[in-house]
């Protein structure tokens, strides 16, 4: 089933075209306006030594006028119609006075007819009605087994409590079975559901989308502070909260093992990254570097490299920006970076941002696409109505290869497997990256030895290299079970440089890297 548009937002949806008219009527040739509504409903339950339940509702509206290459915005959560109409009038009056004469040509949005002729993916096409006009209320939502709009926090509690009880029992048995291990200090399980509803209205479109995400985050911690985690979830309903057998082992056994783990000697090693770590490398490597606003500010090395057609990686180095990803690998759901349109109403389409080592034009929002004179993509996102819009990543992943994971491991005489990500950071101007991994699993003579290693100081391990060096060192990649070869993507989040947190899925295959600096 696909969740339908919630009735309680219908009144404000009907007000939005009126607000748009106030902002734009009579000056359509001078500027472009839209109105954006977002409602975020989040509930979570934490089962741990200290329990917690919380439900949050956040609803806000943004009025945007784009004129002479600048975005002007008023945004508020004071949503009674009278104050919104007054705000729109005041905003219009302010800009009428400020922009008596316009220097640059206004932006013209695309009609539904043009959008359809440019092609849309099946998940979008299937939800478009017939006889589409600028006044048609179009609604998009992903397929879910369990309707997230009717989920109750009681059910979240049940899942969290049962998961924790099962994991605690297993961990206790593990510790009793091996005298080397202490009992875990605690297992903390958080189940969180978030439902984001957006409405976008401009002169050509009136559309809405529901983006539900669910997550079961389970973590085991020892008294010495070592921890291991497992995460289940994605774009959909409660059906996605089940931890796999491997996940449960990670929480109950790996955390105990980590308390006894060896420390890695700092140096360069052959490494296989799992989808979680691969995704962070994709996101930090040519993800941030290919963000249009970073290009616009002269802060990325990618613009010159694109223009000079410089190759920045080997034939295996291909990275996708894929907002309309609603299935992946062997799973029929997307992840939290997926949506149908971005926060400026641009419809989602996939884009290859790095094609066998060659850089494309960047991902963009409206302002950067206009300034750079490059195509718009669906990458205009904001943390919330409270924050500015920027070019942001959706789902970023390395394309899949042709090997099995066992084959990749078999290719390593002496090296490590990095399965779990632990942060990362970009340097779009300097072209370096760092991606953290919680620990490394040792590989000797083509086999996992069972030994695990923490970083040299007993924390996580940082993987770091200049991006070009790294992308030249992809040896092989694992294959995907997906019909369109989309690999596994994980739930993820991104703070651009250090703030503005947005959901951003990332992933890819298992990748064997010839060598990476590990410290």
């Amino acid at each position: 089933m696909r969740p339908i548009f919630p009735k309680h937002l219908q009144d404000i949806r009907e007000l939005m075209p009126k607000l748009l008219e106030t902002l734009e009527k009579g000056r359509e040739n001078d500027w472009y306006a839209f109105v954006w509504l977002e409602e975020s409903k989040e509930m979570h339950y934490v089962s741990a030594i200290t329990e917690m339940a919380s439900e949050n509702l956040d609803r806000g509206l943004v009025m945007r006028i784009f004129v002479d290459g600048q975005n002007f915005e008023k945004s508020t959560n004071q949503l009674n119609p009278e104050s919104l109409i007054q705000m729109a009038k005041d905003f219009r009056s302010e800009l009428d006075k400020k922009f008596l004469i316009i220097e640059s040509q206004s932006y013209t949005p695309s009609s539904w007819e043009i959008e359809k002729s440019n092609g849309l993916s099946k998940d979008l096409n299937d939800q478009l009605g017939s006889d589409l006009s600028k006044n048609s209320e179009v609604h998009f939502s992903p397929n879910c087994e369990i309707n997230p709009l009717v989920s109750k926090i009681e059910r979240l509690k049940e899942i969290a409590t049962n998961t924790r009880a099962e994991l605690l029992t297993t961990a206790k048995n593990n510790a009793q079975a091996d005298s080397n291990f202490e009992e875990l200090a605690d297992i903390r399980v958080m189940v969180r559901q978030s439902v984001m509803t957006n409405v976008f209205v401009d002169r050509e479109k009136n559309m809405s989308q529901i983006i539900p995400t669910i997550m079961n985050y389970s973590m085991g911690m020892t008294k010495s502070g070592q921890s291991a985690r497992a995460i289940a979830g994605g774009l959909g309903g409660l059906e996605l909260t089940k931890l796999s057998v491997q996940d449960k082992k990670e929480v109950t056994f790996r955390s105990l093992q980590l308390a006894k783990a060896k420390k890695l000697a700092p140096g360069r090693y052959k490494v296989i990254s799992g989808p979680d770590v691969t995704g962070v490398i994709a996101h930090e490597a040519f993800g941030h570097t290919q963000e249009g606003d970073t290009w616009m500010k002269g802060r990325s090395i990618a613009q010159d490299l694109h223009l000079s057609k410089t190759k920045v990686g080997n034939e295996q180095a291909s990275i996708m920006n894929h907002p309309d990803m609603f299935s992946m690998d062997d799973m029929d759901h997307g992840t939290n970076g997926s949506y149908f349109f971005d926060h400026e109403g641009q419809l989602a389409r996939p884009q290859t941002i790095l094609d066998r080592g060659m850089l494309s034009t960047p991902m963009t929002d409206l302002a950067s696409a206009t300034k750079l004179n490059v195509p718009r993509t669906a990458n205009g996102k904001r943390e919330s109505w409270r924050r500015p819009l920027m070019t942001r990543q959706t789902n970023t992943y390395f394309t899949a290869g042709d090997k099995t994971v066992d084959e990749l491991i078999g290719m390593v005489d002496d090296g490590y497997l990095a399965r779990w990500a632990s942060g990362g950071m970009e340097d779009p101007k300097g072209g370096s990256l760092t991606a953290g991994t919680s620990y490394l699993e040792e590989i000797k003579n083509g086999k996992l030895t069972g030994e695990i290693y923490l970083g040299p100081s007993g924390g996580h391990v940082e993987l770091s290299d200049p991006v070009f060096t790294l992308l030249e060192r992809i040896v092989a990649k694992s294959k995907s079970a997906h019909e369109d070869n989309v690999p596994d993507n994980k739930l993820g989040g991104c703070g651009k440089y250090h703030k503005e947190g947005v959901p951003a899925g990332c992933g890819g295959p298992f990748i064997l890297w010839e060598s990476i600096t590990c410290g």
């Binding site: 339950y45 741990a48 030594i49 200290t50 329990e51 917690m52 339940a53 439900e55 949050n56 600048q70 975005n71 002007f72 915005e73 008023k74 945004s75 959560n77 009674n80 926090i153 200090a185 605690d186 911690m221 502070g225 070592q226 921890s227 000697a265 700092p266 616009m296 500010k297 002269g298 802060r299 090395i301 010159d304 302002a367 943390e383 409270r386 500015p388 942060g423 950071m425 340097d427 101007k429 300097g430 072209g431 370096s432 953290g436 970083g455 040299p456 100081s457 924390g459 996580h460 940082e462 770091s464 290299d465 200049p466 703070g495 440089y497 250090h498 703030k499 600096t517 590990c518 410290g519």
Partner: protein
């Protein structure tokens, strides 16, 4: 702005009291938080020797309501609590009922909420009067200050800037009788620039968080970044080392101290996560004789700092205390709830981190290590600190390699990692004082720091590089 006069407040209290009346045996208490925030946000793109061009200008009005409901239920007695952000346009009774019902799902060890404050709230300065009086005027004034500086820069290219000026008022009231209001201002400014001529691959990105325009001192902030940018030369990878010597700045010292202080929280003891308690040493390994010692105070009263506050989250008066003295813990941080859980007297110690400075200047410290190599880390790519293990690591985004008191080369890349407790066995603080604020939100909790601007670390640091 007096939020105790908010027209929604009596309606919310009425709805809460109605649910309480209908569930007297289980409904224990409530708390209402009202927040009003105005934010002006400007995003800018730079040009050579010219003022910034604005490309995004935002005006945000945020007025919100949140409730907490506390219940007592089950046998043996358990305490439940749940929070809910209120939709002012929907039925309040339904939302309060829902929150009460959610609280019944939670079973924590019971604790008593306080019915009176432990003293009178102190009058503390948390707002810049200039911002409070005229937010848009203050924002414009800051913008002019930035542009006056930027348009005259000719040896660097300014790539981008962001300026946020915020004014927030928060009011709380509890059914137990506690109530209070505080106003706070804050400024966020970031700037990215690079050395001319172009093209180059080294950019300096720095940000400043401040509570007042005076403390922000954006002209000086830009001058300092320009100086740092102009000092950049060709870089090289650091050498791999199992026992490196590094120097970090006030920003990074503040981050390390913040995580160390987090282990003083008595809540960690209750939650069975690693913690420090009275008389514990903050060291791991043998203390070197020549090393400085750590003395750290928490102070909630320092004017215009991020952690300055008249009351704690529980509505109690916070207290100043020297929590670490000569590397030894004097006090855990114990609030009312955890005090009751652990059978310890609550002390409500909270506030900004104040670290005693050292006796030598940065230059004197660097000279004192002679021919030993020291990497001064100007910028970490992303300093990740594990508050459980107190270990940290990052790529070096930019650094200077010092030898014999002189800069030998610039450093970029490689991974540096360390263990705070080992680091504290062999370190020196400079005698230059700096002030850092982080108003919180997003990825970081709020924090305030006044202390040394440099720290030389000679133990517990490893580098993976060349």
């Amino acid at each position: 702005m007096n939020l105790s006069q908010d027209t929604m407040l009596p309606r919310l209290k009425e709805a809460l009291d109605k649910v309480k009346k209908n569930n007297l045996d289980q409904f224990y208490a409530w708390k209402i938080v009202i927040q009003h925030k105005n934010s002006l946000q400007t995003l800018m793109v730079g040009k050579e020797s010219a003022p910034f061009d604005k490309y995004q200008s935002r005006d945000v009005l945020d007025h919100s309501y949140k409730i907490d409901v506390y219940s007592r239920h089950s046998e043996p007695k358990a305490m439940g609590n749940a929070s809910f952000t209120i939709d002012p346009l929907s039925d309040l009774n339904i939302q309060v009922e829902k929150t009460f019902s959610n609280s019944l799902m939670v079973s924590n060890k019971p604790w008593d909420l306080s019915t009176k404050v432990n003293g009178e709230y102190e009058t503390v300065l948390t707002t810049d009067p200039i911002i409070a009086e005229n937010l848009s005027g203050a924002h414009e004034r800051l913008h002019l200050e930035i542009n006056d500086k930027v348009k005259n820069l000719d040896k660097v290219k300014v790539n981008s800037g962001e300026l946020f000026t915020n004014l927030k008022t928060t009011y709380f009231e509890m059914s137990t009788g506690l109530k209070g209001q505080r106003e706070s201002s804050d400024i966020y400014f970031e700037i990215a620039l690079e050395k001319l001529p172009l093209p180059n691959t080294q950019e300096v990105l720095k940000f400043k968080n401040a509570i007042s325009i005076g403390d922000a001192n954006l002209s000086k902030f830009i001058d300092d970044i320009v100086e740092e940018t102009l000092s950049i030369k060709e870089t090289q990878l650091p050498k791999t080392s199992d026992n490196a010597t590094i120097m970090i700045d006030g920003e990074s010292i503040a981050d390390l101290m913040q995580d160390l202080v987090s282990q003083l929280s008595a809540k960690r003891e209750y939650d069975k996560t690693p913690f420090l308690t009275k008389d514990d040493s903050v060291l791991k390994g043998e203390k070197k004789l020549k090393s400085d010692k750590l003395t750290l105070t928490l102070d909630p009263t320092v004017p215009v700092m991020a952690m300055t506050t008249p009351y704690t989250d529980e509505g109690m008066k916070p207290f100043k205390a020297k929590v670490i003295s000569n590397d030894k813990v004097n006090f855990q941080l114990i609030n009312g709830r955890i005090g009751q859980y652990l059978g310890k007297e609550p002390n409500y110690i909270d506030g900004n981190i104040i670290v005693d400075v050292g006796s030598s200047s940065k230059d004197e410290i660097l000279n004192s290590i002679g021919s030993k190599e020291c990497i001064e880390v100007l910028t970490f790519s992303s300093l990740l600190i594990n508050s459980n293990t107190l270990t940290w690591s990052s790529e070096i985004k930019l650094g200077k390699l010092w030898k014999n008191g002189k800069i030998h080369s610039m450093i970029k890349g490689g991974v540096v990692s360390g263990d705070i407790k080992e680091n504290l066995t062999n370190f020196k603080f400079s005698n230059e004082i700096t002030k850092k604020n982080n108003t919180g939100g997003g990825f970081y909790p709020a924090s305030g720091y006044i202390g040394p601007n440099h720290m030389l670390i000679e133990s517990g640091v490893k580098i993976a590089g060349e």
